[in-house]
Structures are given as C-alpha cells and as structure tokens.
C-alpha cells in the first residue's frame, strides 16, 4: 500500500513538472505571438 502511494506521488510530481514545463513554453509562445 505504501509503495502504491509512493508511485502515485512520483507520478503526480512527474505530471506536474511536465505541465509546468509545457505551460511555460505555451505562455512564452503566446507572448511572442502577441508582439
């Protein structure tokens, strides 16, 4: 049970980091298009 929770935690962290990276990239592109 503990390891399942740990796996979920790591998966959430990975997903969040991916979203953070993509979000930064998307906002950078949006800024570039608006200029």
């Amino acid at each position: 049970m503990g390891f399942m929770a740990l796996g979920v935690a790591l998966a959430m962290l990975g997903l969040g980091l991916l979203m953070e990276h993509n979000g930064r990239k998307a906002s950078r592109e949006r800024r570039r298009h608006s200029h």
Binding site: M1, G2, F3, A5, L6, V8, A9, L10, M12, L13, L15, G16, L18, M19, E20, N22, G23, K25, A26, S27
Partner: protein, 155 residues
C-alpha cells in the same frame, strides 16, 4: 459577412498580412482587388503561397478558386481537435489548471500522512515490510506536499 485577417506566406520568405471578407453563407473568402493584383504580380517570380486565416477560432487554409474568391479548408479536423482538446491540460495548461493539480497533490499528501499515522498505530509487531510501507507513505507525503506547494505557486 465577417472581416477576417488573412496571412499569405511565400516560400521565398515574404509574408503579407491583410484583411478579407468572409461570406459565411457561401463558405468563401473575398479578397481585395489590391491583394489580387499583388498575388498576380508575385505569381510571376514566386512559387505559389500558403494562404491561411483564423475563422471562428479555427485555423483555415485558403485556396484561390476564382479570381478574388478563395475556398476554405479547415486545418483542424475533428479527430485532430478531439486529441488536442483531450491533451490540452498537459500540453498547454493554464496556470489555473496547474494550481488545481497542486491542490490535488495536497489532498494526496493529507491522505498519505493520515495513512502513515494510521499504519503506525495499527501495527503491533514491526516487521521489515511494515517499516518499508510506513516509510513509503511518509516519503509520498513529503513529495506530494512539496509538489502541491510548487504547483500552486501561480505566475
């Protein structure tokens, strides 16, 4: 009728931005005579351009059909749009969506903490597996708590 922005991109690198009128009932775009003349002049020295427009938020590719009239072919096909909508939260998330993930991580961190404490109190004779399970829950708490703090940060 609706006024739309169109962009004409030549393979040579030149790009022309102009406005045109979109006839919704006919599904066609009407360009100005001036732009028509420019296109005719450039057709002598340039390869055929790519003409695009954004109509109702959708990217459309235009093709010259008859003089100043242009036909519309939507780039965003239904299947393509379905997948891009499905993956949007992960591919191009808004800061609100990132914050929601942060809140979800905090909910998971509370669950891990409660799980670890409950586990601790329910174990009578500690075995190696119990220690590993309890430690894993504690580590999961730390990770999700940190993830929650990081993703709720916002812009």
């Amino acid at each position: 009728m609706q006024i739309i922005e169109i962009e004409i991109e030549f393979p040579g690198g030149m790009t022309i931005s102009d406005r045109a009128s979109y006839q919704r009932s006919e599904g066609k775009v009407h360009i100005s005579e001036r732009l028509q003349r420019i296109l005719d002049d450039f057709s002598v020295s340039e390869a055929s351009p790519s003409i695009s427009a954004v109509i109702d938020g959708e990217n459309a590719q235009l093709t010259q059909s008859n003089g100043r009239w242009m036909d519309i072919a939507y780039v965003g096909q239904d299947a393509q749009r379905f997948w891009s909508n499905l993956l949007q939260p992960f591919v191009a998330p808004s800061s609100d969506q990132e914050q929601q993930l942060g809140r979800f991580c905090h909910a998971l961190s509370v669950a891990s903490l409660v799980g670890a404490i409950g586990f601790w109190h329910s174990v009578k004779g500690w075995t190696f597996t119990d220690v590993l399970n309890c430690s894993a829950l504690a580590v999961a708490f730390v990770i999700t708590f940190y993830a929650g703090l990081r993703f709720t940060k916002g812009d």
